[in-house]
């Protein structure tokens, strides 16, 4: 490769390598979306079984032990496929995003390694006691192990979301022109990154909500079938209480997340709301239907066929002020002097200067031309914060896919609100002991479970599709981050993953349904 490889890659990225970056993204999305089908349930169900086992140890009631074992059995089925789909995620950073691994590996690698050391070992060690240690260790030791598995899986989420939060809002590092990479200089900033923290809280609480929906749906099915009545009613109360409390937390952390997005990723917020032209006192679109892109380009002031808006809410959500100006996509792309927003074209110009200066710095340094190297370095340092923009081909490339982000966001929020309503209703009818007679509510509870998975995936899509075109916000576009391999190689592995994961998912669902049919009385 030539010495000005970065420049070379920029030129070829949009033309020759578009397919490579697309397939690399498709493969990562495929594996991440599959993995994400299983992780949230593990995050929440581990806590639910830990609560149930605590009730067993506190009361000595063997009934709680059997109930714990039943839910634990379902957890194991889910856990196994979660692990299977998870191992690939870590290694894909190397196999498919090798440039990324070098350019930001100095920051990104550490949370991943700490995740392995602190969380994975805890999970895998105490997992053995949790499932096989009932008669081998004391009650207290077993309960501790169950809680440690729950803690381990949630700690794992913490570290991976610290890493992911850093991609959305990179902090605690400095670019080193000699190694041509970003290097960490403040671990605490990386760990306490507000984007990472709110992401963690929002994500784990969404997992608790999904696990609650899971327990409620299965219990509701038993009640509809008029079997396992006591088991189902008691499980429902535990799950609905857990779901209600964690939904409130989910709501609060969602608000915090949106605030962070507004501050750090205004383009993502504009895409989430389909806001093309910025405005003060901006409202939130409760629901609406976007026009095609071509029509919006003609009249960006009116991008919806129809919509229902909550006035001032977006200004408040994003900036905690009812009157605040919220920039739209066009303000961010083409600039807005009144609100001091720089255009992408201007950022691209500075970014290109940074890319060129870095290349010149390397050349002059190699030649021993110190004065010129220092001059190039000074130019680089002035513009380096916008270096990522230097790799974009046109200003519009800075815009993510608006319909995908908009609809995913609204599906997530709409379903999240429905879940909260469902938990409250179930709790009410459980408390007045009428739940088994409310067949419509029970049927809705069963039907809501798939919606829980839809909401999970939608949330993930908002976070990741909304970040595009950046692998690291403003620093590294995805096209620059891929491995230098052939598109065919990635196509082959993409289809292999698609077939394998689908085959495993079919088996998982069939096994799970069978175990539910057998029920807590039937054993394995």
């Amino acid at each position: 490769m030539s010495s000005n490889n970065l420049l070379h890659r920029r030129n070829t990225y949009m033309e020759n390598e578009l397919a490579l970056v697309d397939w690399s993204r498709a493969q990562f999305a495929l594996t991440a979306l599959y993995h994400w089908l299983f992780v949230p349930l593990t995050l929440g169900l581990t806590f639910i079984v830990a609560i149930m086992e605590t009730l067993y140890v506190k009361t000595g009631d063997i009934w709680w032990k059997n109930t714990t074992k039943f839910w634990m059995g379902l957890l194991a089925i889910n856990f196994a496929i979660g692990l299977a789909t998870g191992i690939i995620m870590e290694f894909e950073f190397g196999t498919n995003w090798s440039n990324y691994s070098w350019i930001v590996g100095d920051i990104f690698g550490a949370p991943l390694a700490i995740e392995g050391l602190m969380a994975f070992f805890m999970e895998s060690t105490f997992f053995a006691i949790m499932f096989f240690g009932w008669d081998k260790v004391s009650k207290g030791m077993h309960l501790t192990s169950t809680w440690l598995v729950a803690l381990g899986s949630n700690l794992s989420a913490l570290w991976i979301l610290v890493a992911n939060g850093w991609m959305q809002h990179p902090v605690g590092m400095k670019f080193n022109p000699d190694t041509a990479r970003n290097e960490m200089n403040n671990f605490w900033e990386v760990l306490m990154n507000p984007t990472g923290v709110s992401k963690f809280l929002h994500t784990v609480s969404s997992g608790y909500v999904l696990a609650s929906l899971f327990v409620i749906a299965i219990s509701a099915w038993y009640l509809l079938k008029k079997r396992e009545i006591v088991f189902a009613k008691r499980s429902m109360i535990v799950a609905a209480s857990f779901g209600f409390l964690t939904s409130l937390f989910l709501l609060a952390s969602g608000d915090e997340s949106a605030y962070n997005v507004a501050q750090k990723q205004p383009m993502k917020l504009a895409a989430m709301e389909g806001l093309y032209v910025g405005e003060g006192k901006a409202g939130i679109v409760a629901f609406g239907m976007l026009k095609p892109k071509e029509e919006i380009l003609k009249d960006p002031h009116d991008p919806f066929y129809f919509m229902f808006e909550i006035p001032n809410a977006l200004s408040f959500l994003g900036y905690h002020s009812l009157d605040a100006f919220v920039p739209g996509i066009n303000d961010l792309v083409y600039g807005n002097k009144e609100h001091n927003i720089e255009s992408v074209a201007s950022k691209m110009q500075k970014g290109k200067l940074a890319v060129k200066a870095l290349s010149e710095y390397k050349t002059f340094k190699k030649e021993g031309n110190t004065p010129k190297a220092e001059q190039a370095l000074a130019t680089f340092e002035t513009n380096q914060h916008l270096m990522g923009y230097g790799y974009l081909k046109k200003p519009e490339d800075a815009v993510p896919n608006v319909p995908i982000v908009f609809y995913s966001f609204h599906i997530m929020v709409g379903l999240g609100s429905w879940f909260l309503f469902l938990f409250i209703t179930i709790l009410y009818f459980s408390m007045i002991n009428e739940i088994e007679n409310k067949r419509l509510l029970l049927m809705l509870s069963v039907l809501t479970l798939p919606m829980g998975y839809v909401a999970q995936e939608a949330g993930w899509i908002v976070a990741e599709a909304g970040r595009q075109p950046w692998a690291i916000q403003d620093m590294l576009p995805v096209g620059m981050a891929t491995s230098n391999i052939s598109t065919t190689s990635v196509q082959i592995t993409f289809w292999l993953f698609a077939v394998l994961f689908t085959a495993l998912l079919i088996a998982e669902i069939k096994i799970m349904l069978k175990q539910i049919k057998i029920g807590p009385e039937g054993g394995h």
């Binding site: 010495s3 059995g73 089925i77 196994a80 190397g94 050391l117 053995a128 990479r181 230098n484």
Partner: protein, 375 residues
């Protein structure tokens, strides 16, 4: 704050990576056991006993592999980028072989598992054989090299369209693969000898131990002899220019007698562990095997990272070869992670105690069958 040099941190992290790699090799007795399922278990009950015994350990092996990858990413990101992003097909094949393991234990005996028991057992066999063999091949390339170039921006490119599969044509890499395959089966035999209470399986596992030891020795002796005497890339610490030196790894051992003594005593202990199981009927031989395997593999990996030896030679451009110095994370990151690494002994301690408490009674067919959650 202690004044520790960047180089010291790099050596420390190469040592940690070597230890993690060695622990993984020890833990591959799980994979070895999967390949011996039908050799040792002649009835459904016996096979369930074997799976039940391995089923309490497989996650630790899996975690050790993930941790090995995570530590490489964090401490030597350039190695991670170059090898994983270049030898694409080999690493992907390894990953596929591990994806299929996790579900197979859990789903094998479950009703409505769609594909049947034998399907999941085949997956376990593929994981135990192809997965481990390919990891051996990949480790072999640390000594024999890969076809990559790295530019001034530290971005890398593989120069062969076979993206790593060409490593299968190198006899040393193949010997490494076979060594790992047979050592995992030796480990499995010793683990079962210690963990199971079953008179029918015992003579079969002792026979498997004998056979696999005989199969293990030729590739192992070949790779050891070749590794120590072959021409190896080294770099000049001041100019960073790479050159070729004969018998570099042997020289490294001779100039670091502690490593030489560790390696030799590791090999003696390893052979004694097998001897003590076969002829003295010591059920505890697995522990001696474990300690000796960890010592041997740690030394053989660690010697690549010291005395300015190259940790990943480039066959396409000698000067692109990776050293611990140019492939590592920054000083700050290595120092932060070194503080975190204080947790390592704590983690090992709780793993040890959990293992002990779970294995204090031997596993029997009756126990596996009566267990509420069995594989």
């Amino acid at each position: 704050m202690l004044d520790i040099s960047l180089y010291s941190f790099q050596v420390y992290w190469w040592l940690l990576v070597s230890i993690l790699g060695a622990l993984f090799v020890f833990m591959t007795f799980v994979q070895g056991g999967q390949t011996l399922l039908y050799t040792l278990g002649k009835t459904d009950d016996e096979r369930s006993l074997i799976i039940g015994s391995l089923g309490r350990k497989w996650e630790l092996t899996f975690t050790a592999l993930v941790m090995f990858g995570g530590a490489l990413f964090a401490a030597f990101p350039l190695f991670y980028a170059v090898s994983f992003g270049g030898a694409y097909y080999v690493w992907m094949a390894i990953l596929f072989a591990f994806i299929i393991q996790a579900v197979s234990y859990e789903y094998r005996l479950k009703p409505d598992n769609v594909y049947g028991k034998r399907f999941y057992e085949t997956l376990l066999y593929i994981n135990g054989s192809a997965g481990i063999f390919l990891i051996g091949v990949a480790l072999g390339t640390l000594y024999t090299g890969g076809n990559f170039i790295v530019n001034e921006m530290h971005l890398s490119k593989w120069t062969q369209a076979s993206y790593g599969l060409e490593a299968l044509l190198n006899p040393f890499n193949l010997a490494f693969g076979f060594t790992l395959l047979f050592i995992s089966r030796i480990g499995a035999s010793l683990y079962f000898y210690n963990n199971l209470e079953n008179k029918e399986i015992e003579p079969r596992l002792l026979k498997a131990l004998k056979v696999n030891t005989l199969l293990f020795l030729p590739p192992f002796l070949y790779l050891l002899g070749y590794m120590l005497t072959k021409e190896t890339y080294v770099y000049d610490p001041s100019t960073k220019i790479v050159s070729v030196v004969s018998m570099q790894l042997l020289e490294t051992l001779l100039s670091n007698p502690i490593l030489l003594v560790l390696l030799v005593s590791g090999i003696i202990l390893f052979l004694y562990a097998i001897f003590s199981a076969l002829f003295l009927h010591k059920k505890s031989a697995i522990w001696l095997y474990g300690v000796s395997t960890v010592i041997i593999v740690t030394v053989l990996l660690f010697i690549l990272g010291i005395e300015h030896t190259i940790i990943y030679p480039s066959l396409s451009d000698m000067q692109s070869s990776l050293q611990i110095e140019n492939a590592s994370a920054s000083y700050y990151t290595l120092s932060v992670m070194s503080v975190v690494s204080i947790l390592v002994p704590i983690v090992f301690t709780y793993i040890f105690f959990v293992w002990r408490s779970m294995d204090k009674t031997k596993i029997t067919i009756e126990e596996v069958k009566s267990d509420h959650h069995h594989y």
